[in-house]
Amino acid sequence: MVGASGMGKTTLLKLLYKEEVPDKGKVLVGGMDTSNIHGSRLRRSMGIIFQSFRLLEKKTAFENIAYGAEVLATPPKEVRKRTKEILDLVGLADKSHRLPGQLSGGEQQRVAIGRALINEPKLIIADEPTGDLDPENTDRVLNIFDRFHQEHKATVLFATHAVDVVNRLGRRVIRLQQGNVISDATGGYWSEQGEETKE
């Protein structure tokens, strides 16, 4: 999902995970009307990622990722198993005992992604997750999403205004302007001028 800042990307995402409720109309997620389901229940099937990492400073990378499953009362054995898998997925198995302050920005974002993925969501909502990352870390993050999508058949909804990120993905591109969808192209690319082309 692309669009310049202030075009409604974040608002649309918030409507999807029910941080905001629409004044009129319906929001359907996986065919379900979100007005008929409590926000917390809806979010249990989602993994939400932001530009800011929002990690717990006094917990290690392992504990930060595990926290996402613990708060949903997952048994400890299962939490440990899943956390190890996720640490492998995000490439931080060797840094699992480091605190966020001992990790780079890219690594911190991968911990935040790991925390969002630990409950095996069906839908991943990522709001500018590569906004603060260098190209190398951006690639890593995109690869994580791609791998998770391949392995778990999860949908990844990625909001960005970075042209290079969109073009590298080469996936469906939904373009927003003033809160309206102005184009929706599968396998599309976004030009510098903000135009989509179909592959």
């Binding site: 995970y17 029910k18 941080e19 905001e20 409720v21 409590h38 926000g39 917390s40 229940r41 809806l42 979010r43 249990r44 099937s45 989602m46 939400i48 929002r54 990690l55 717990l56 006094k58 926290y67 996402g68 613990e70 708060v71 949903l72 009362a73 997952t74 048994p75 400890p76 925390r115 969002a116 409950n119």
Partner: protein, 291 residues
């Protein structure tokens, strides 16, 4: 909430208490002080009620019949008054017998005529607060010579004890409010310190009660710890204070109520106060999760 949810939240509560060490200590100190005051007043009130009851039993009126009126004639008239619980006839000879050990039988026989002590009546009141009214009614009865009673002394004591009981309740309510506010402040601090945790829980789909539970458990633990401290103080000091009172006022030995009842109430009250503060503070935390 399943077993693991409780386990994780207990762990988080313990970490939260350790993280906000000073706020936690301040909360426990104030809650403990409140519980000590509360328990102290409860105990005092219970004992004052006993003293009041003792005084009530001792508010007796002595009625001397007018000359020529037998005490046996007056007794049913007095007993029929609404404020009277019971009437007893005291024979004149009994007064003579009571004075004899003090002044000496021979001295009394020489000093007083044989009929110096006439029969009298002792009336017990239903309600010491109504003493004035009842005494006035007795005075209007035909055949009543004189009426002697505590001249309001017992009544004054009774009113004082009532006042202390009422004041104590107001004092306790004040401390209760202060304790809840302190618990609320500590928990609000905990909520502020955990804004990121609350957000994470919110995003992964923890419901409002799940988020609230963490703060309720933390507040419950602070309240429980405070009540255990206060209970231990009562256990230790209760016997000591009781001993001092009995040494000063031996007649109270059978009247004092045990501090165990107070300890039981304090043990329940601490967690309740904590939960009240935690519940109010967590409103803010769950406001976002209610959509």
């Amino acid at each position: 909430m399943n077993m693991w949810a409780i386990f994780y939240r207990l762990r988080e509560a313990r970490e939260g208490i350790a993280r906000n060490t000073w706020a936690s200590i301040a909360t426990v100190v104030l809650l403990t002080l409140t519980l000590l005051m509360f328990g102290g007043f409860l105990w005092l009130n219970a004992n004052l009620a006993q003293v009041a009851s003792l005084l009530e039993r001792q508010v007796q009126i002595r009625i001397f019949p007018a000359e020529g009126t037998p005490a046996t004639t007056l007794a049913p008239l007095i007993e029929s008054l609404s404020g009277i619980r019971s009437v007893e006839i005291l024979a004149g000879e009994s007064a003579y017998e009571r004075l004899a050990p003090v002044f000496g039988r021979e001295t009394l026989m020489n000093a007083l005529p044989a009929d110096a002590f006439s029969d009298s009546l002792s009336a017990e009141l239903q309600d010491p607060d109504q003493a004035d009214e009842t005494v006035s009614q007795i005075r209007t009865l035909e055949g009543v010579g004189d009426v002697v009673w505590g001249q309001g002394f017992a009544q004054i004591l009774y009113k004082i004890s009532n006042g202390i009981q009422r004041g104590g309740i107001i004092f306790i309510i004040g401390f209760f409010i202060a304790a809840v506010l302190m618990s609320l402040t500590a928990m609000q601090l905990a909520v502020l310190n955990r804004e990121v945790e609350i957000q994470i829980q919110h995003w992964v789909g923890v419901g409002p009660w799940g988020i609230r539970a963490q703060f309720l458990i933390e507040a419950f633990l602070l309240g429980l710890f405070s009540s255990i401290l206060a209970g231990a103080v009562f256990l230790y000091l209760g016997e000591v204070i009781q001993g001092i009172i009995i040494a000063l006022m031996p007649f109270m030995s059978s009247q004092l109520s045990s501090p165990m009842m107070v300890i039981g109430i304090v043990l329940v009250t601490g967690p309740v106060l904590g939960l009240l503060g935690g519940g109010l503070a967590s409103q803010r935390a769950i406001a976002k999760s209610n959509k």
